[in-house]
């Protein structure tokens, strides 16, 4: 099969399979996930190049993959539904200190994942201190702390100074 068609087939297959797998698969990886990704890349490489180890095949495939990615991002920018389809949208999973369990369940985000993000990003340890937690398009969790808490933290920092 033509190299370019193989490249396009692999690109769209990976796009679909990761979209089906969900955002959780793209979030912070464990060691096992990293190894799994390496295995996937190895399997993909064999199907992509076959027995053609020429430099021209390599250049052609890289150009096809990067070019397709640029084209998709251009189309996403000009046509929003495509972005929704390929990347999804951010999702609020904690609202004014209350965890939204049904949303978390559907998005396969665990209670501990949110608290871990809160600890790492803002050094806060309870849901009460979180104004919003958002599951972003890339699978990461961003935390917006409550405003009075930010003020408290700021004034405490000033006192320490």
């Amino acid at each position: 099969m033509n190299l370019i068609i193989r490249g396009l087939a692999v690109y769209f297959f990976i796009l679909i399979i990761f979209r089906i797998a969900g955002k959780k698969s793209l979030s912070e990886s464990t060691t096992f996930d990293l190894v799994l990704l390496l295995i996937i890349s190895e399997v993909t490489q064999q199907a992509l190049v076959g027995e053609d180890f020429s430099l021209s095949a390599c250049f052609l495939l890289i150009t096809t993959l990067v070019g397709t990615d640029v084209l998709i991002s251009y189309l996403k920018f000009h046509w929003e539904p495509l972005g929704k389809l390929t990347e999804g949208k951010p999702l609020i999973i904690v609202n004014k200190g209350i965890p939204l369990f049904e949303r978390m369940y559907k998005a396969r985000v665990e209670y501990d994942d949110v608290l871990e993000a809160a600890r790492q990003l803002h050094g806060i340890g309870t849901f009460e201190e979180i104004e919003y937690a958002v599951l972003e398009k890339d699978g990461s969790i961003s935390i917006i702390p409550k405003k009075d808490l930010s003020r408290r933290t700021t004034s405490k920092t000033h006192k320490d100074d």
Binding site: R19, G50, I92, N95, E102
Partner: protein, 165 residues
């Protein structure tokens, strides 16, 4: 529908385009995708992509048996196994060239003592076949459906394959 209602609706004052409907739709599609992935894996285990009971085919003619796989993969390995009950002094096994050109022959056991090209077909000649077993190890070089009528002495075995890209 009942499950959709349980998903919390929230009002928020940050600049965020959440689009809950799109999320609900994508969760549904994801579940369908997971089921599909499971079905594909189970079907593959049973041989839908080769190497299982769904793929194995056996043809019998005059007590001679030909075993082969219907589902093959491009540049994967394939085998045609001919088990003969009635052994003759010389066994002739023929394939139409149009079919045989789609495969790369890796190995034939036992090795034929002669090979002839006749009227768009290739014929292998075997002598004194041990245990009556002839095996062709081949690699598919084309994709899609293919097939032929393989001849063994005066018998005919219809073969067909689907080769995945």
């Amino acid at each position: 529908m009942a499950k959709e209602k349980t998903i919390e609706k929230v009002s928020y004052n940050i600049e965020l385009d959440e689009s809950l409907r799109a999320h609900v739709r994508s969760w549904k599609l994801q579940r369908v995708g997971w089921v599909l992935m499971l079905l594909i894996v189970v079907a593959a285990l049973f041989g839908l992509c080769g190497g299982g009971p769904l793929s194995y085919r056996t043809k019998t003619a005059n007590n001679d048996t030909l075993q082969y796989e219907y589902f093959l993969r491009y540049r994967g390995h394939a085998q045609l196994k001919l088990q003969m009950q009635h052994q003759t002094d010389t066994t002739r096994v023929g394939f139409p060239m149009a079919y045989w050109k789609g495969f790369q022959v890796e190995k034939i056991t036992p090795e034929p003592f002669d090979t002839q090209l006749n009227n768009d077909s290739i014929v292998y000649f075997f002598k004194g076949v041990e245990r009556g077993l002839i095996q062709f190890y081949v690699t598919p070089e084309n994709r899609g459906t293919t097939g032929c009528k393989m001849t063994v002495n005066n018998e005919t075995f219809p073969i067909s394959h689907f080769i995945y890209p």
